[in-house]
């Protein structure tokens, strides 16, 4: 299955050794983004992947493309337009000090200013079996919103699988407000086959209430299946984080039209607090593309999400061998 994604390439600038911005003049530059992260991980799993996006036609755009290629992603659908790459600075947290992300201008990025007319969706879809679209596109600009809709519609019409990630960030939507965003998501969902999201996305953004007639333990399951039926969704997946004392655990869930499975929780020990969600999504997509059972998929994806937290940067670079290792030999912490 040829897997592709439509989404932004961002620059991430990170001070070394948990330093804060004031403390250093040294920064590490990575190119990242939900699409980059998921595709890179799938490429490390052996899948053929391709990214559809736009970059500025300058030295930075070329460097971004080189980085994407290194990650194992085909760069032939990366076009040039605009003159800016959105960026963020990540001051890495430690212990009780949270990781602090500071965004620089995203809306004027090459991706942000590119609408449907800036892409050749037909040619792109001809080479794609499944396309991942990140919900950020619906929040970013009028152009990205429009491009996402056209792409999803075309893909759906062609019988390609559409995978959509809610990725709803209130901070990116202060102008339009939730009501406006609800409309956008409702417009997108009918084209989608696989969806990543959370209970809150359904209740707070889509305004779908928990059923009062279902007992508590089953409310979430009922809600999700109601949602999936409404929009004809094939898979719905996401992660839950739980704290217990000063430990944190990650578990993933996965629905098909009839079943609901949840993985055994795994302790999170993070080197980097950003990016586990994309690792989880890559695991689910791998299982889907290879028709694994729900249980197999969710266990693999959760293990992968936990591994993603042990890797510097947003991009999960795990291989199947590494994921299998921590599933099968979790106590072997030195491999020679």
């Amino acid at each position: 299955m040829r897997i592709a994604a439509f989404g932004e390439i961002m620059m991430r600038l990170t001070p070394p050794e948990y330093l804060m911005l004031e403390q250093t003049k040294e920064l590490r530059l990575d190119f990242t983004g939900t699409g980059v992260n998921i595709l890179s991980n799938l490429a490390h799993f052996g899948c053929q992947t391709s990214l559809l996006t736009n970059l500025p036609n300058n030295r930075l755009g070329e460097a971004a493309k080189a980085s994407v290629r290194q990650l194992g992603i085909q760069d032939r659908w990366i076009g040039f337009s605009g003159d800016h790459i959105g960026s963020y600075f990540a001051e890495m947290g430690f212990g009780p000090r949270p990781t602090q992300v500071t965004y620089q201008n995203r809306r004027n990025s090459s991706f942000g200013v590119s609408g449907a007319s800036n892409y050749d969706f037909d040619a792109f879809l001809a080479e794609t079996d499944l396309v991942h679209i990140c919900g950020i596109s619906l929040s970013l600009t009028k152009e990205t919103r429009e491009a996402a809709f056209v792409l999803a519609e075309k893909a759906h019409a062609l019988g390609k699988k559409v995978c959509f990630d809610f990725n709803f960030r209130p901070s990116l939507n202060e102008v339009h407000g939730v009501a406006f965003m609800k409309e956008q998501y409702e417009k997108m969902l009918p084209y989608c086959d696989l969806v990543f999201g959370s209970q809150r996305d359904l209740t707070d953004l889509l305004d779908m209430p928990l059923s009062e007639t279902v007992d508590c333990a089953n409310q979430f399951e009922e809600l999700v299946h109601r949602f999936m039926t409404k929009y004809q969704i094939e898979r719905f997946a996401g992660t839950i984080r739980q704290g217990e004392g000063d430990k944190h655990y990650l578990t993933g869930f996965l629905f098909d039209s009839e079943n609901y499975v949840q993985a055994a929780p795994r302790e999170i020990i993070h080197l980097d607090r950003i990016g586990a969600g994309d690792g989880y999504a890559a695991g689910i997509l791998l299982g889907y593309s290879e028709s694994w059972s729900l249980v197999e998929s969710v266990e693999f994806a959760t293990a992968n999400g936990v591994l993603a937290h042990t890797i510097q940067g947003d991009v999960p670079l795990t291989t199947r061998k590494q994921v299998r290792h921590i599933m099968e030999q979790p106590t072997v912490d030195l491999i020679r």
Copy 2:
């Protein structure tokens, strides 16, 4: 309230990535010192701060001044004399391996050779409401001792608040012995309004016994209030560290003439084992300068002390927003 400090600027040289000195030729250079640390933190809280000290009139002195300015501290009372900056090397510990500090010559530093005649105390005090004096000055050299006394006396006479930190280190006082040092501290205390110290400073250094007629639980409180009454101290504050299994907790205490409050203990997770005391002191001084309640002050200061341990280097660079965050949303470990 304009807050100032009198104290030494030192160089701290730290190998990267927990390496020991033998293992690397790379060092990180920071300028630090009790005064620098407290003032920098207060400046990050929005206070107007100024440091009174002396540096060598050379490239290093200029670099030290630039660093102090960057931290948000006014450098106009930093003079030039002598030709040396005291320094220390910090080999960062990990797990059971302790952090190892190795001092290089401090007594011949520009600060160490500067006596009262090297400073214009009157002009300095005219622009100051509260001055912090570190107890190290009493141990370092005859010149720093004398300067500290003259400054405290003048400040007191002018009705300025004097804040004094015991900071008693037996290793710096091997020549003179405790009896001599007791005299110096007794000479200083009558000028002081706020004091940072510990039970041991009162019992071992000042030789004030715990009352045998008070029950154990109240002995510390009785002792401190006896001390405060004796020297007419307005506030007495300090921190206590406790271990429980392999976890460590920090809690702060704070006295006014009638009351005694203690903060809820907070777990310490340290990136750097040096500097939390100065973070605590900065928090107490902020509360004092803004007339917070004792409880508010001690909780904020303890949270700040814990945060200071999560920051590389001695200098606590926390903002009010960061401290409030871990007090109010301790489980949110990623802020976008």
Copy 3:
């Protein structure tokens, strides 16, 4: 003389050791800008300096302010608005390979979106004797253009000295074209006392022809004096670069209303190809503020411009002692 500047703070991101962007993930972060550069240099010469600008109210804005303070510039007139800092990447050239600058979005920066209403010009000018305005403000956005005009007009009305730098970059003005820009410059110049520029600024941008009746050797001088008379300019200054074989030389010129002096050319050996112009300007402003002779000023400023090329980054950090050293003991290449 209290010297201030109105201008943008930018981020400069530079790969280490002459690497190109594709070759590294390590970048060095500096905060720079014409105003920052000139003021920092003047502060290193002992002048009191202050920068008027706006930054985003976030971690990056705070880090930028800390950096500016470190350079010796007062940060009290730096306000907060917008949410972006313009940035550029500098791939350092070597030998025949040119230094390559790639700009990221400047127009949407906090400075770019701030108009006259975002500043308190009156209070600012009350503490200022001379204000430097960079011509980039006329090119950047409608807001910066307007702010520059209001500031210049007010300063002029209050009898403050206005120093203006053409800094005309065709690449920033592709939308409006030269005719539009000519109008803006003509609107600004009547408020100005000191101007930095080149012959080409006068002939190509302002459309002032060289006189055909003057012999070649004197055409430039006649042109400048004609320009100075027209706009009542007190000083006009700039630099000329010349190549001779594979050597490059810098020389500065300086006009007052009656005289024209040129410095002896100095060989340029560059560690960094960006920033010498600001070093030259700082030298001229120092001489002006201390009423040096034209010759003294131009020689000092040229030496300083040459030194600026030997320093990493745009910001000239030279002291008077360093400039005097290369003027007086050019062969002593090791100072102990």
Copy 4:
């Protein structure tokens, strides 16, 4: 024209800042090799390129592939065999101190132990128009020699262009001696269309004498044309270095069956003394693949070779725009 290469991927380990191995524990890791260098450069010129080689099937092999992809080279013909990558340490010279290269085991590398049976030449050639073979293959091991012959023979039979680079290093051939190597080269040459070499390769290795009946100035030309006729070579190219005082100049030459052109010499200013030859070769191949005139080709290739010396590492990452810039605007040393 789809261009491919057959050759080794090596690790290059370089101390930073001109340090020698004893002076540092920090090394920079690059993946390099004649094929990598030429293809990467061609990819930066916009060509479609692919590398045929073998790597160990482990973390290092994967890292090497990622690096090759980043450089713009397709990795689909990179197979796995063996368990070792040849490496070399480059202590960068400065002034009179030469760059010192120290090789680690090459003969047991994955490439060194791979013979013809380890590659699928037919499938590879089906996707290739021109294949570059480095003469090192003839020296390295029996297996690489055999693989090179089979590949060249098959390519020639299929009418694909074969480009061969003498790259004769006596130090790699101490065991077999020159007579043995002469045989190998003579066996290879009949399959070749383009050849890179020097006068010494023809006279000393192939034992072809300079003609005594031709006058000195034309001896080289006569020799090369005699060589080209003998082996039916379409193009012969190489570079000459000349010193003049303490300056060094590079010039390239290029022959077709009838003509001989030489580029104007360009001064070499090296950041890195390794890799200019591959930059020259990439320029010649670009010209060939796009049917440029001999003069155009040789001028572009020489400029590119000179640029290659200004880039850290062996891999020339120049773009057409950069080469054109130094050909057309050699004095503009700062591009914004």
Copy 5:
């Protein structure tokens, strides 16, 4: 007691800050090996130590010797032969992500190709009281096997103490198989006085069964004493790792001909997962050379093993003072 070792010097190349190979071009270079590690630690304890090995006669060999000298080991018995140093890349694990070691060619290293004739054992032994031989020598090559046997035999004949470390790695012995390796170990053991190993070495490699007539709790002790009697071994020592929840503990054991002691388990907190075994061995050898009691030795060695995990790299650089500190003042985590 003059302690020496016979063994390989390897290069260890480690990415910084827990990065994986794909993520960085920066590597840290260390020279390491079982003999290097143990001797360096003993030298830091104040012992006179010397290493017998071979290196290539080139820049790398010289750098390796310099590094060994820095560690406190005499380099006079380090000879030159061959042209390669074996190396490995260590991708440092974090949390559940294991440390991943990737070896490059070891069998063709200078050490691997050196047999008995390449060393002057007699002269070496004349200056040695105890020689440590690592079991890797038996696995590596025919030459190293032979050299180890000759050395052990000669040392034994001269009445020198021979210390042997099983260090059996199945991955290095895939060609020969266990039966062959058993023979080699059986040939070596009669020459040995001190042996480091595990229960599994005795049962699986030497094929010595646990006694069924002894109750479980004493089976290990009986087995080891049976082994020691058979081969006339004076001391047998090793370590056991235990997990409890997510904590890991290290404990050491030590046998003489009659007694068996085990240290109190100590929690492992690792900065580096490689090298604790060598720290343990160094502690045991120190105790042996100074005739400490078994209990003293095993407690010191276990503490040292735990400390070794808190140090970057394989080489334990601990001093007696540091080991004593964590044994006596485990809660003091900052020493000034």
Copy 6:
């Protein structure tokens, strides 16, 4: 010939990439000093060398010893006393910007506070054939002066060769003045066999006039021979630097009792402006210890001095092979 030196070990702290102290927090730490430099170079030439000095008994002292061992120098005569190592910061110059050295406290260093009673000269001299004493010892403190005299006297009495280096720095002698220093040098010289110095040392410090009856060209030679006769000096050597345009040349001279030779001047291209003198001295001492001719010695030493300038840091790490290379194949700038 066993060569030893008596002198200080200093710390050198250097910002990377030509940055100034204000511009960076990263420093490189090297241990250096005239004795360290000369002995290290001789060790790299294959000589047996040993350093006599004192260091503090702490982590820094241990790190300094480790560094000295790495350089190839025996550390058995390095004792412990005092608690401080003198240090200096070197801001590396570029082009016209001079290298700027800033010293930190030297007089209170472990070396500075150690007098004759802190060393065991007799045991040391029993293992030494030639001892180098740096003139800095005469300037530093009363203790170092005394120690130098006692050592020189004892060495001379035992028939050991004494090599003395004027190394007169007015900046270190502002307190005592030239007259006092003259006395000290006159007291030392009778014990000396080899002396490094300059014409100015003889004329300005020792107050020996140039002869007016000798013609100009021979004045220097006559002066040196007069000086050598007076103090019974066997060899006198030094270097001369000359500028010609923007090029700099180094040449060495060498006298025995009857002859005077001067090397051919060699161009200086410096990576580091500190340390060439020690490289020259090492070359002369090598020639002396191996009874080379004056011409051989002076040519080798001058080439070595020039090479020393191409190496980062003060310590010349050149081998005989490297020196011979630039003497014999100066145009080969890449060695594989």
